[in-house]
Amino acid sequence: MNYRDIIVFDFETGSRNPYKTQPVQIAAVAIHGRKLTIQPEGYFESLIRPELDDERAIELGLDPIEDEALAVNGKTRKELAKAPQPKAVWKKFTNFVDKYNFKKTNFYAPLAAGYNIIGFDLPIVDRMCEQYGPKHKKSGRQGLFNPIYKLDLMHTVWMWMENNADVNSLSMDAMRDLLSMDKENAHDALQDVKDTANILIAFMKLHRRIAPKVKFEKAFADGNNLHI
């Protein structure tokens, strides 16, 4: 059933509340949905100019940019002041995602994927779509990604690690440690999405190896259990 591509994306932001935060960077990686490989030329990255005037940001109903947040993602106010505005960046991002919607219909729209996107990044997508489009005609919700399926890698990781006594945190940094991934450039949006994409691909390949061995058909007719 997976004949759609997957876009792993991540916002770096100036604060923590997804409903009021200002994104300062967006990055994305496109994955071929069937081959589970990163698409050649399938990378997106752009800085986003936030409202750097705190009072003006509050007037607009947004959180001011926090220095602590900038320290985490390594951005400076000076470089952000030169970045393009959210509307221009969002237009380019929608063009990028649309490139992987090969039938140009909602049904074939790529799946949104990322780490903790349900709780953080997708509400930002909803806000951006509300402001700049595209919006789904009937539901009024975001019309960029597939409206039904979303892949939050954090949920997958939780399912595999919830009973693992050696794992105390499910943060991306904890995952990098656990999987011995390079932490150089961590919290740069593009590096984060590349890492997320690689972990997602690894898990999906693992699922593909295991799934054919699981007996799903009529599994609950005989003792409510799944067997390999």
């Binding site: 698409q39 030329e41 399938g42 990378y43 030169k82 970045a83 221009a88 380019k92 090969f102």
Partner: protein, 535 residues
């Protein structure tokens, strides 16, 4: 530039039905586009029946109809019986010797309604009117009429004494059963003649054949699938179809300088009105540029001078299918710059139209436009100026690569044209493990075959008989840059093992050998033994 799609002609009425090359084409099952025989069913039965004259071709057209295929007698369909008898693997028998002259032409199988009429005349002494009543009773399945005709048939048979009453009853019950499938012979012969004519056109005028067929594919239930099949079939005959190109703006698909070019109308999102407007715009800009032909324009000239007056959806479609592919810019870059252009206001576009010649490309033009009017630019206020600065930022530092990766080109062309013409998916893969191309296999190479292919269709099938009854297997249609093969079979065990790899557009190496249907002397099918996935 010569366009010749309709300039060549031949007179079908004057053709005799004795051209060996035409019969060879039909017997080889190369019947895509051949009237009545273009389905997979038509192709496979043509190879088994191997018709060499109109009579046999008419029989072929008749026996591949659903009724005949489903009419089972002694565990065998009438179609199968006909073919087995034709290929001498089953003895031809007659219920009564008197039937031989009537049924000899169809291997002793009752294929046509006219044969039933003839039997009634010879065995029961029916006149033409009575025989026609029999045809009506058979064709229209009228029970009352059938009962009357049966009575008359038996009475006539007793009177004529050619066959016994018992034989007459059996023969009539056989005629009754044939009502489910028997076809009108005059109809079948007409079909066969049309089929021969189209096979003749395909044999001797292949360019015109494919070109016209592509034009009329829009009338098919699934035009994109039809286009795909035709283009792939043409590839098997070393005929390559090109996308619409700036060098030849033809509305309909046409033959230009000896090559088939898709017409603008073949592109999804492009309609007649848009094409007419496009042509008007091009000719007016050509005049403005002192008769500089469209093919000599730069992308920058097209963008600034013509694009504002052309339908956006049409232009996006044309860029995506490679209409401007002779230009150095990638399709992605053109789409990006067109998107940037569309972000300008009408006034800003007008400024660009007037001043375009002072700058060499879009980036420099936009840089000049960015300051406000007061500062010598083209923007109304600081806010617009800031927006244009953003556009310049993304032109200088694109957020994503604007190179055309083959996968994107393939998908775009499939979306807008129904088929990818620029790339074959398999070309991007390392195929060194393969030892045979599809064309080599079709041309007869046999042995341990390994073909690097892209899967274009997977048809699942549940086995209805034999040891593996109820298990799933599949038939594949695969393609490479040399052609397409739609006779690939993967049996249950291998299907179970490899089905995760078998999906449309996947690149694989199929290992195996030809299927040997000795009964029909046909061995062009391919049985899969092993599959290696390519990256």
């Amino acid at each position: 530039m010569e366009t010749t799609c309709t300039s060549k002609s031949f007179d079908p009425i004057s053709l005799e039905f004795n051209n060996e090359n035409v019969w060879d084409l039909i017997c080889a099952g190369k019947t895509k586009g051949i009237f009545q025989l273009e389905s997979n069913l038509g192709k496979s039965w043509a190879k088994r029946v191997k018709p060499r004259n109109i009579e046999e071709l008419a029989a072929l057209v008749s026996i591949i109809r659903p009724g005949t295929l489903k009419a089972i007698q002694d565990g065998k369909s009438m179609t199968q019986r006909f073919v087995d008898r034709k290929n001498l693997t089953e003895e031809i028998t007659y219920l009564h010797p008197s039937l031989e002259p009537i049924l000899k032409g169809t291997q002793g199988v009752l294929v046509y309604q006219e044969q039933s009429m003839k039997i009634a005349q010879q065995l029961a002494g029916f006149n033409l009117q009575e025989a026609d009543n029999l045809r009506k009773a058979i064709g229209k399945k009228k029970a009352n009429l059938m009962a009357e005709v049966k009575k008359a048939f038996l009475e006539g048979a007793i009177k004529k004494k050619v066959v016994s009453k018992e034989d007459a009853e059996e023969i009539f019950s056989w005629i009754e059963k044939s009502s489910r499938y028997a076809f009108n012979k005059s109809h079948a012969v007409s079909y066969a003649i049309c089929a021969y004519w189209s096979a003749y056109a395909k044999t001797y005028h292949p360019l015109e054949f494919y070109c016209n067929y592509l034009i009329y594919s829009s009338g098919k239930p699934d035009p994109q699938q039809e286009v795909k099949e035709l283009v792939n079939d043409a590839k098997n005959n070393e005929i390559y179809v090109s996308p619409p190109s700036i060098k030849a703006i033809n509305t309909l698909t046409d033959i230009i300088d000896g090559q088939i070019h898709f017409g603008l109308l073949s592109v999804k999102s492009v309609g007649m009105k848009q094409i007419e407007k496009f042509k008007t715009v091009i000719s007016s800009v050509e005049t403005e540029l002192e008769e500089k032909h469209l093919s000599d324009w730069s992308w920058y000239e097209f963008l600034t001078l013509a694009s504002p007056r052309v339908n956006s959806r049409m232009l996006i479609a044309l860029i995506s299918v490679g209409f401007f592919s002779h230009l150095p810019e990638s399709r992605q870059k053109m789409l990006d710059e067109f998107d940037t252009w569309n972000s300008l206001t009408k006034k800003e576009q007008e400024w660009a139209f007037v001043n375009h010649s002072k700058y060499k490309d879009v980036l420099n033009l936009l840089k000049a436009m960015t300051p406000t009017k007061k500062e010598g630019g083209a923007t109304f206020n600081v806010k617009r100026s800031s927006m244009l600065r953003d556009l310049v930022y993304h032109l200088e530092t694109p957020a994503y690569s604007l190179k055309d990766d083959p996968e994107w080109v393939i998908r775009s062309e499939e979306n807008y044209l129904g088929v990818s013409l620029t790339y074959s998916r398999i070309e991007a893969c390392d195929t060194h493990l393969a030892n045979t191309t599809i064309r080599e296999f079709i041309e007869g190479k046999r042995g341990d075959i390994k073909m690097a292919v892209t899967i274009s269709e997977v048809k699942r099938y549940t086995t209805k008989s034999g040891k593996m009854k109820g298990s799933e297997m599949a038939f594949l249609c695969v393609e490479d840059k040399t052609g397409t093969l739609d006779t690939v079979t993967i049996f249950s065990e291998k299907w179970k093992e490899y089905k995760g790899l078998l999906y449309e557009s996947n690149n694989v190496i199929i290992c195996g050998g030809s299927s040997k249907r000795k009964r029909y002397q046909v061995d062009d099918g391919f049985i899969v033994d092993r599959i290696i996935e390519l990256g």
